[in-house]
Structure formats: C-alpha cells, structure tokens
C-alpha cells in the first residue's frame, strides 16, 4: 500500500458500498481527513471507484507510460477468449457526434498469452485486475475461467455476454434470460472469484437479464456495453463500418447508461458498475447517485489518456466540498420526487424464464 492511501477512519464504521442505510454525517470540520474513496464491491476492495473499461485499455500495461496506473481503482482487460482472435476487417471504427462506433470483433491475444506475458507485469500496480472473459460457447467461457482461476493477481472476472460485433455466441447469452442464467451458473461452478456480468443495453429489459445473472450466481453487474448503432457516408453512399453496424460509445450514450444503471441497481439487488460516456467527475457523481457502486471509463481514454486520474481528483474534491466523508455515501442516493419514486423490486424477484413476447413487460 502506498502513502496516498486514505488515512484510516475513526471507529469501525463500515466502508462497504452496501452500507446504504447509514445516514450521512454532518459536514466535517476543516481538519477532517481526506475523504474516503474506497469502495467494496462484490467482495472486491477498490482504492477508488474509477476503473478502465474493457476494450479501451488493452491489457493494462501498454499505457503505463501514459496513465498513472497506481491512481486507478481497477483495470478491466480487453475481452479474452481461449484462443487468440483475429478480429473484424477494417474499417472498424468511425466517429459519430459525441462518440464513436466500433466493430473490433474481439481481437485479442488469448487467455494463455495474457497469463504468461502480461499478468506478471501487472503485479506491481495496486489497481485490481479484472479479466474480461469472452467465449462463443459455454465451454469457451469455462476454458478462459479455468485458466484465470489459479492466479490470485486476477481479482475478479467480468463476463462479456453482450458484444454486438461478433457473429455468433456471446450475444445470445446477453439477450436470453435462460441462456444467461445457465452460462453464469456454469461459470460460478468453476470460480470463487467475484463474478461480474456486463449487461447489454440492446434488450427490452436489462433488469430481467440482470435478474437471470443474479440467479446464476453473479456478484455484480456492469452496465452498459455499447449500444448497437450505425453510420452512413452520404458522399460514398456506404456504411462507415465494414460490418455495417457497430457498438456506440462515448458521451452520446450516457443518458441510456444512467437509465439502465438506475433501473438495474434498484431492480436486481446486486452492486452495479456504471459505464457509458463517463468523462468528467460530475459524470462519476451522477452514476454513483443513480445507483452505481463504481464506474468504468472507456472512450474518454482515447481522447485523453489521463482522464481517470482527473476523475479521482475531481471526485475527492467534490466529496470534500460537500462534506461527504465516504464515496459510498453517494451510492444510490438520488433524490426523487416522492410521487415518482419507483417501488423497490422485491429482493428475490423471480426470474422470468420466458419473456413475454409482443411488447415490453409491464411493471406491476
């Protein structure tokens, strides 16, 4: 641990992200120690709630010279499959207003090379390493998980069940509640590491998929993966991506992400990691208030690789200026107009095994 760790807090007050019932304390006196940025999430203890999102930060080490890795709460790797994947033909990216579309197709070095070549170098950083797991079949997911399981440096696993850019596999687990439950349950058998499932926004009810993941044994959910989109070049009359459609990310998707974080955090009863267009510390505070226990930064890294450290500093300043001793005091503390406050979902709501067809499910 480093000197930059927050000073120990007085008493035995819980720093758990789940300690939501505690009432916020009064504004601290001026000599109050630095705000506590630590969060506890699905058994993970993070130095702060700022992580990098899968697919935007390579395998973590490539950017050690650009990003202060020691300032990060965690790193989520590029999605790793049992074998290296070649990825999609170019063009794979294009810019859109307030964001970008990508169709990388999960190009990656494979779990074996990650474990042998990359993981040893990540050991010296305090940021928690979360391996993003991708497979085309349940068996492929299990093979990646089995390779990751023996390594204590891998703090948690994030299941990618929602990549919109691969032809087969992956997406079905993210879009079908029963397939989701079975996949998560199978993975749960193979690992005792914290298990995070990354939800797709491209479904009618992310809550329903989140409940299925919970039923399968997930410890946390990350919301959201990219939003399926497309871009057209009027001059050439062609789509701008080789695959025609791709995943939209960046500030353009932030309102969608906030809505899903809000719904899923209330409707599922698992901690949620917010992702989608996060670029400033106010974005971070908004996601925490909406119900996220931590956030991942993605596309903003491409514009400014130093984004995460700015978010940590900004969040700390916000906590100090608002007299908030713990970052966890913000989680889910959105103030709602009384008449509009949704009723909390029952803690053990049953999983809808076969979603109703022909229209959005009704909230009873």
């Amino acid at each position: 641990m480093t000197a930059s760790d927050p000073a120990p807090r007085k008493g035995k007050r819980s720093r758990s992200a789940h300690a939501r019932s505690e009432s916020p304390s009064a504004a601290p006196p001026a000599h109050e120690p630095a705000p506590d940025l630590r969060v506890k999430l699905a058994g993970l203890e993070l130095a702060n709630p700022i992580l990098t999102a899968s697919g935007t930060f390579g395998y973590g080490l490539e950017f050690a010279h650009l990003v202060a890795l020691e300032k990060l709460g965690g790193i989520v790797t590029k999605g790793l499959s049992p074998q290296p994947l070649r990825g999609n033909p170019p063009p794979r990216v294009c810019e859109t207003r307030g964001g970008m579309l990508n169709s990388i197709g999960l190009q990656n070095i494979g779990i074996d090379r990650f474990v042998s070549d990359v993981l040893p170098g990540l050991k010296r950083y305090p940021a928690k390493v979360i391996v993003n797991v991708f497979g085309r079949t349940v068996d492929e997911y299990l093979r990646v998980v089995a390779r990751a399981q023996p390594h204590p440096e891998i703090a948690a696993l994030e299941l990618n069940v929602s990549c919109p850019n691969v032809e087969r596999g992956g997406i079905e687990f993210g879009h079908d509640a029963e397939a989701m439950r079975r996949l998560v349950a199978a993975v749960r058998q193979e690992t005792d590491k914290p298990l995070i499932v990354k939800l797709s926004p491209n479904v009618t009810s992310p809550v329903e998929l989140g409940l299925a993941a919970k039923d399968g044994g997930a410890d946390a959910l990350s919301c959201i993966n990219t939003v399926l989109g497309m871009a057209v070049d009027a001059a050439t009359r062609r789509p701008l991506l080789n695959t025609i459609k791709g995943g939209l990310s960046g500030p353009a998707i932030k309102p969608i992400a906030l809505r899903i974080v809000f719904d899923v955090s209330r409707g599922v009863g698992l901690p949620v990691i917010g992702i989608g267009g996060i670029e400033t510390w106010t974005d971070v505070v908004e996601f925490l208030l909406a119900g996220a226990s931590a956030v991942q930064v993605g596309t903003a890294l491409f514009r400014n690789p130093a984004t995460p450290e700015g978010l940590v500093a900004g969040l700390e300043r916000y906590l100090r200026e608002t007299g908030t001793p713990h970052v966890s005091d913000l989680i889910g503390k959105l103030e709602l107009p009384a008449a509009r406050a949704p009723r909390p979902a029952p803690e053990n709501a049953p999983v809808a095994r076969s979603p109703p067809r022909g229209g959005p499910s009704r909230v009873r």
Binding site: E62, R86, P90, E95, I104, G250, T299, N304
Partner: protein, 282 residues
C-alpha cells in the same frame, strides 16, 4: 510519448483545402522520426470528439538546423516560437470534415492538445539513389524524410495529385531533391501542373531503368497498393506510411487494423504507420 498543450503560432494557408498548422511545443520535445504522427485534440466539444491523426510534417529539432536552440526549419531562420526555447512543429492539413475545418480556422494563441510522437516511422536510410512518392496530402508524412535525405545520396520525388492545388508544397520538395542531386517529377490528372497523368507513370519508367535502391511513399491506399506491386515487379524494396480510420492513436482501441501478410491484423498506430510493402496484405 508526451501529451502537451501546444500553442498555435500561425496557420499558413495554401490553396484551399490545404493549410499548414504551425504549433509551438515545449523545448526538449522528443525526437520525431520521419513518418511518425501526433494525435491532435481539436477544441473541447463533443464534435469532433476524438483526436485527429496528423503526420509530423516538420519540426525544428536543432539537429538539422545546426544545433541552434531556437526552432529552425530547412536551415532557414524560423519565426519565433512564443515559448522561449520551444520548438516549432508543423502539421499539413486538408480540410475534409469538421475537425480539420476547425483546425484550419485556428488563430494564433489558441491551444491544442498534441499527443505524440506516435508509431513507427521510416527505417534507416539505405545507400544509393532512392525514390520518394507522395500522393496528394501524403506529402505530409514525407517532408521530414526528404529533409533527412537531402544530405545524402540523391533522391527523386514523385508527387502526384488531381490538380495543381493538390501539390501544395511541390516547391519545397523540388528544392530538397535538387539539393541532393535529384529532381521532382510532378504529375496532375488534369495537367494543371507537371506532367498530365498518374504519378505511377514517370515512376514506372524510372523503376524500369533500375535507378532506385529503395522507395518511400505516402498517399491513398489505392496508390500504395499499386506502388507495392510496382516495387515487387522491379525488385525494389520499399515502405509506406499508411492512413486508416483511427480511434486513439496509441494501441488501445484496436480500431486501425491493417491486414498483415502473416494473416493477423496489425495496428496502423503502433505497428505502423510505416510498413514495408511486403508486410501488408494489399
């Protein structure tokens, strides 16, 4: 690699849509190899959101300028850089969208974020006469190279575009080539400057004559593919700076895939932007 705030010294206008952006970057800026690039952040708005990739067109590095601490380009006295001891970096731009339009409209004193230098530049020069082939704004990746080549064996420049305005810096290339004992072969498709036709036509004749030990190029992908085939045909090794759609510029997004002959996708930003002709599956 550094992420610096650069100050706009001036924007030199060429015939539209071309412009040269002259930036002051801090003293001690890392050495830039010909062919390397920078990612430029244009404003802080949502559009454009991502940075734009630009070849480093020119940079005062003290080395070629006789060790002078002030920025000097081509051995001529450069205009003062506003940061004392700073270095002037030049980018050649072509207005094609909102980002380049905003950059071209920059005013002296404006600040832009410059991340770089990035990527793999051109390899060490080979002995013997060499050819430098530019297609349009591809010349942006080749001026630094031409400056380095100007002190060695002769080199010829083949510079082609649709029209006269697409050869915005033909004079400088001509000067550098002639200083080395070589010459400029300019072509335009409409015949408004140089020889009418494609840049590959005079090149083909010279390649057939066995004049060249090596070829350096930058331009549209179609041109580069033709050059790769021409070089293979004449047994001349060559390399080219490629341009692709790019998200981040530093290997994070994996967006700038280039099909490699070995079967995988290389990254333009990290494995390139300069590739040997025989590395790319054209």
């Amino acid at each position: 690699m550094l992420d610096v705030r650069a100050r706009v010294i001036a924007v030199d206008e060429h015939p539209l849509p071309y412009f040269t952006l002259r930036l002051g970057v801090p003293a001690g800026y890392p050495a830039v190899a010909p062919g390397q690039f920078v990612m430029v952040q244009v404003g802080d708005r949502l559009e454009p959101y991502l940075r734009r990739a630009f070849s480093v067109y020119d940079i005062g590095d003290g080395e070629d300028a006789g060790g002078s601490p002030s920025a000097r380009l081509d051995g001529r006295a450069a205009p003062a850089v506003d940061a004392p001891g700073g270095v002037e970096m030049r980018l050649l731009g072509k207005v094609i969208g909102r980002g380049t339009r905003l950059l071209g409209a920059s005013r002296p004193g404006d600040e832009v974020g410059v991340l770089g230098p990035l990527g793999r530049g051109f390899g060490a020069r080979t002995a013997g006469r060499v050819a430098v082939v530019a297609g349009g704004v591809g010349s942006a990746a080749l001026l630094l190279l031409a400056r380095r080549l100007a002190t060695g064996d002769p080199f010829d420049v083949f510079y082609g575009g649709r029209s006269r305005r697409d050869l915005p810096d033909a004079d400088r290339f001509e000067e550098l080539a002639e200083a080395s004992g070589g010459e400029l072969y300019a072509t335009t498709e409409d015949g408004s400057a140089g020889r009418r036709g494609l840049v590959t036509e005079p090149l083909r004749e010279r390649l057939a004559g066995g004049f060249y030990a090596h070829l350096y190029a930058c331009g549209p992908m179609g041109l580069l593919a033709r050059l790769a085939a021409l070089c293979a045909e004449h047994g001349v090794p060559g390399e080219a700076a490629l341009e692709t759609a790019m998200g981040c510029g530093f290997g994070a997004c994996l967006g700038c895939a280039v099909p490699h002959v070995a079967g995988h996708y290389a990254l333009c930003c990290k494995d390139g932007p300069v590739f040997r002709f025989d590395e790319v599956a054209w």
